[in-house]
């Protein structure tokens, strides 16, 4: 095909801006490739008839082809734009006519001329849109050369204009249909119920939500007056009255109740209860808008109904929840201008302030009036402060409750800043009178306890279950020269300078009474020394673990009693006894010596009558001597002045010696001493002290044994310790005396000492001696079955048995 370069419209369809706008205008009509429509065919028929041609077309030209919306006398529905005649037509403003194609160089080689449909004549009028774009043509075609008459040309142009008008209508109808469908979809899917009425209030349309909400189908409502169908007359009347006074115009109790505010420029939302088809009432929030047409004529009303049932349910649920809350829940609105109100207050307000929610609807003042006078200003200040800082608000104040009297309440709320500068609070208020009373009582008790602790002459220190010191009373602070400080129990001894009773050895952590109590022990009368304040302070500690009422460990407490003064007096007493004993010894030596000389008859024969008295005097002077020896021993032990010459030595010789040296004393009581089993072990002891102990035990056993009985001395070795036992057949030791056996001057029967001639210090001294040598002393006895006194010492086993 020949290039159309020579032609004046060589690139009629090139992508010039004008052409692009033309294509856009064409597409806007949305007509390309739509089905045939008889209304368009009428125009082509008419054009063919008037112009007396076999072919007439409504041709629309897009970027690559011409498409025929309507055609008469032609089989194809479109042809390529390159060979189209219409391209030439739309390039101009008027009819384009080709009288004989074969005579026209632009068309003589056109395939549509040379081939089917053999065009010899063409005349087309441009279809020009209102905005000036040629969208296509109305054209007529003949297979013979010819010319249109002037009348034919004019008619063709007129028809062309009609076609464009038809396009316009087509487009408009299309737009309307779309709009209607959209509106319907919006209505159908609206979550609120929508009813459309005529200006007189007769229903014209109802959306599905309205059908569901009210139980009526659209058909049953359409054609009926809205208010008569769904509204209660009394409600309409009440509303009419209210509006009449508000708007200062008479308002009828009919549909105008809904529309009257609109006419005064107000778009009110109002709450109503509509009649459901089943007779129930449906709570709704109604909004009414007027529908106007383009000419601003009132065409009807759109009535929107929002279902309040759900909100009512929520409201009810809130009420129910609020009723369960011990106190009042509230929402409080504090406006920027200082005005305030309670958008919501639960029924609990009666319990806390003796007010009803209604009384607080518009003002905060009733609450302020109920607040106890002295607490008012603090309350208001705290509210303002929280509002300014937007920090959580907390207040405890007293309320003069009309029914309950003066009560304590606690209020908490969180302020939220609103866009308009006001502050919205959500919070609650509870009656805490009981708790407050408990708190006050507790405070009083704690104060009492505190004063009690301070009044004590004892020092009290407590710690919690984790071993943190929690309490030092005044005395404890004074004695320790410090207060409770953090630090583990392991550090207590050094931090607070705790020493053993000797005042020199620091307490080991496991010896500290409070720590022992923390580990569950009951510590009784543990003697120790506090050194913090220079001079040693001797204290007796009693410590106990503390438990909560349900048995959980809470910590421990120690009470320290100052015995420094007692210790001083005891020391003075001991020194006094020691001095006196020393002083007694010299005269006693003369008495004993003199009596011994007399009784020995060295000074001459003593008369028979005096012998008994002299014997009594001699025995008692000896007993006095023994007592003085024991007292001095005791003092030396207490003062730590007694020396122990510890030597490792075999045990058997010690026992044998004791047996020999006490044999004669036992014989005087008619008692036999007997050595039982004795393992060949060695002990590290001061031999003289061991003899002192053994003498004491053996002489006691001999004294208390009936004449003719045996006392057995024996030893057993096990686990690195040897136990030396002295077993007698005496009366044994009564149960009530068990605890005092090793105490000073303890004797089972106070008459015993006179009868038996003991000093009452022997066992006490023996205990001290054995303990000084690293051993233990004890006894086993049942009254009437004899007694077995024993002491245990660390010992080394020897390979060789005793020969």
């Amino acid at each position: 095909m020949e290039s159309p370069q020579a032609s004046p419209a060589s690139t009629p369809f090139s992508a010039q801006p004008r052409e692009l706008s033309r294509l856009a205008a064409l597409l806007r009509y949305e007509i390309l490739d739509t089905p045939e429509e008889s209304i368009f065919d009428d125009f082509t028929e008419l054009a063919a008839q008037i112009c007396d041609t076999p072919i007439a077309l409504i041709s629309l030209v897009d970027d690559r082809r011409q498409w025929f919306k309507s055609r008469v006398g032609l089989g194809v529905s479109e042809t390529s734009r390159e060979i189209s005649f219409c391209t030439y037509t739309i390039a101009g403003d008027e009819i384009f006519e080709v009288p004989d194609t074969l005579q026209d160089p632009r068309f003589c080689n056109n395939p549509l001329v040379l081939g089917d449909p053999h065009i010899r004549f063409y005349a087309g009028t441009p279809l020009t849109s209102p905005d000036g774009y040629n969208l296509g043509t109305l054209c007529v075609i003949d297979r013979q050369p010819r010319r249109l008459s002037a009348q034919q040309r004019e008619t063709l142009e007129r028809l062309g204009r009609q076609v464009i008008r038809l396009f316009e209508q087509h487009l408009l109808a299309h737009r309307h249909a779309e709009q209607a469908a959209l509106q319907q979809a919006i209505l159908d899917s609206a979550s609120s119920a929508v009813l459309v009425t005529r200006p007189d209030g007769v229903v014209t349309s109802v959306n599905p939500t309205a059908e569901r909400l009210l139980g009526y189908s659209e058909q049953t409502l359409v054609g009926h007056p809205l208010t008569a169908a769904l509204f209660r007359q009394e409600a309409l009347q009440r509303r009419a009255l209210l509006l009449s006074s508000e708007l200062q115009i008479p308002v009828e109790a009919d549909f105008s109740v809904l529309t009257a505010p609109l006419h005064r420029g107000r778009r009110d939302m109002s709450e109503w209860r509509l009649r459901h088809q089943n007779g129930n009432e449906v709570p709704v929030l109604l909004g009414v808008s007027a529908i106007h047409d383009e000419q601003e004529h009132l065409r009807g009303y759109l009535v929107n109904a929002y279902d309040l049932a759900y909100q009512e349910q929520l409201q009810l649920r809130l009420q129910q929840i609020a009723a369960q809350v011990p106190g009042m829940l509230f929402q409080f609105h504090w406006r920027a201008d200082g005005a305030s109100c309670f958008p919501y207050v639960s029924e609990g307000v009666e319990q806390t302030y003796g007010l009803s929610p209604g009384q607080l609807a518009s003002s905060f003042a009733p609450i302020v009036c109920r607040v106890h006078g002295p607490d008012r200003s603090a309350l208001l200040i705290s509210i303002r402060k929280a509002a300014n800082e937007l920090t959580p608000w907390h207040s405890e104040h007293r309320v003069e409750h009309p029914r309950k009297g003066l009560i304590w309440v606690e209020a908490r709320a969180t302020p939220l800043q609103q866009v308009d500068g006001s502050v919205l609070w959500h919070g609650f208020v509870t009656d805490i009178t009981a708790r407050k009373a408990e708190q006050l009582e507790l405070d009083k008790q704690q104060e009492m306890n505190r004063r009690l602790l301070e009044a004590l002459s004892e020092a009290v220190v407590a710690c919690d279950a984790e071993g943190n010191l929690t309490l030092f009373n005044e005395k404890a602070k004074q004695w320790h020269g410090a207060d409770a400080e953090s630090g583990s129990p392991e550090q207590w001894a050094t931090r607070y300078q705790l020493f053993r009773a000797d005042g020199m050895t620091p307490l080991q952590p496991e010896e500290i009474p409070l720590r022992r109590a923390l580990h569950g022990e009951h510590v009784i009368n543990h003697e120790m020394v506090l050194l913090s304040q220079g001079a040693p302070r001797y204290v007796l500690s009693n410590a106990d673990p503390l438990f909560s009422s349900d048995g959980h460990p809470l910590g421990a407490v120690v009470v320290m009693h100052d015995i420094t003064e007692r210790k001083r007096i005891e020391r003075l007493q001991r020194e006094f006894i020691s001095t006196v004993s020393h002083e007694l010894r010299t005269p006693l030596t003369s008495i004993t010596g003199a009596l011994a000389l007399i009784c020995s008859n060295v000074m001459g024969e003593v008369p028979e009558s005096m012998l008994e008295l002299l014997d009594i005097a001699q025995q008692n002077s000896q007993r006095l001597g023994a007592l003085i020896d024991d007292l001095l021993d005791m003092e030396k032990l207490h003062a730590g002045k007694m020396r122990f010459d510890m030597l490792e030595q075999p045990l058997p010789p010690l026992l044998e010696l004791a047996l020999r040296s006490n044999g004669s004393y036992a014989e005087r009581h008619g008692v036999q001493l007997h050595l039982g089993a004795c393992p060949a072990v060695s002990v590290t002891v001061d031999a003289m002290r061991v003899q002192q102990v053994l003498s004491n035990l053996l002489s006691n056993a001999a004294k208390f044994s009936p004449a003719g009985e045996q006392v057995e001395l024996s030893a057993q070795f096990s686990d690195g310790r040897v136990r030396v036992s002295v077993r007698d057949q005496g009366p044994g030791i009564s149960d009530e005396f068990h605890a005092r056996v090793f105490q000073k001057f303890a004797q089972a029967d106070s008459s015993d000492s006179r009868q038996q001639g003991g000093t009452g210090l022997g066992l006490a001294i023996s205990k001290e001696l054995i303990e000084h040598m690293g051993g233990q002393i004890g006894f086993e006895s049942e009254p009437g079955r004899g007694a077995c006194f024993w002491f245990e010492l660390p010992a080394q086993g020897q390979a060789k048995e005793r020969p």
């Binding site: 010894r585 030596t589 003369s590 008495i591 010596g593 003199a594 011994a596 000389l597 000074m603």
Partner: protein, 128 residues
């Protein structure tokens, strides 16, 4: 070999003095000179010429050890043994007294019946 006949006894307490004198004279058959103080003993010792000296430790004025030091300047302790009498029985003290030159220590209270024999043993022990 000299015989033990004369004993000088230094003791401030008159009762002990008397009992000791009795015990030694009546039972031991010795001749005893009792002195009430260290000073007196120093005055008398050369005139009396004792074979044995019995010395109390605790005395007012010059005590036993001080007296011993003075005696040592006048007599030969090898020839005339000095023995203390004391109530203090700590072994360390006994050791201390021995170092001062004492032959032995007799512990109070003593048994008057055995005292003469005790002294005789001490005196004899020093002879060999």
């Amino acid at each position: 070999m000299a015989e033990l006949r004369r004993i000088l006894h230094v003791e401030d307490d008159p009762s002990i003095q008397a009992v000791t004198k009795l015990a030694l004279e009546a039972i031991g058959g010795y001749q005893v000179l009792s002195c009430s103080s260290g000073a007196q003993a120093l005055e008398e010792v050369e005139a009396f010429a004792p074979d044995f000296i019995l010395l109390d430790v605790m005395m007012p004025g010059m005590d036993g050890p001080q007296t011993l030091l003075k005696l040592r300047e006048r007599i030969d302790l090898e020839q005339i043994p000095v023995t203390f009498m004391t109530a203090k029985v700590q072994p360390s003290e006994i050791e201390h007294l021995r170092k001062l030159g004492a032959r032995d220590v007799i512990v109070k209270p003593f048994d008057p019946m055995l005292l003469a024999e005790q002294i005789r043993s001490i005196w004899l022990a020093g002879r060999y």
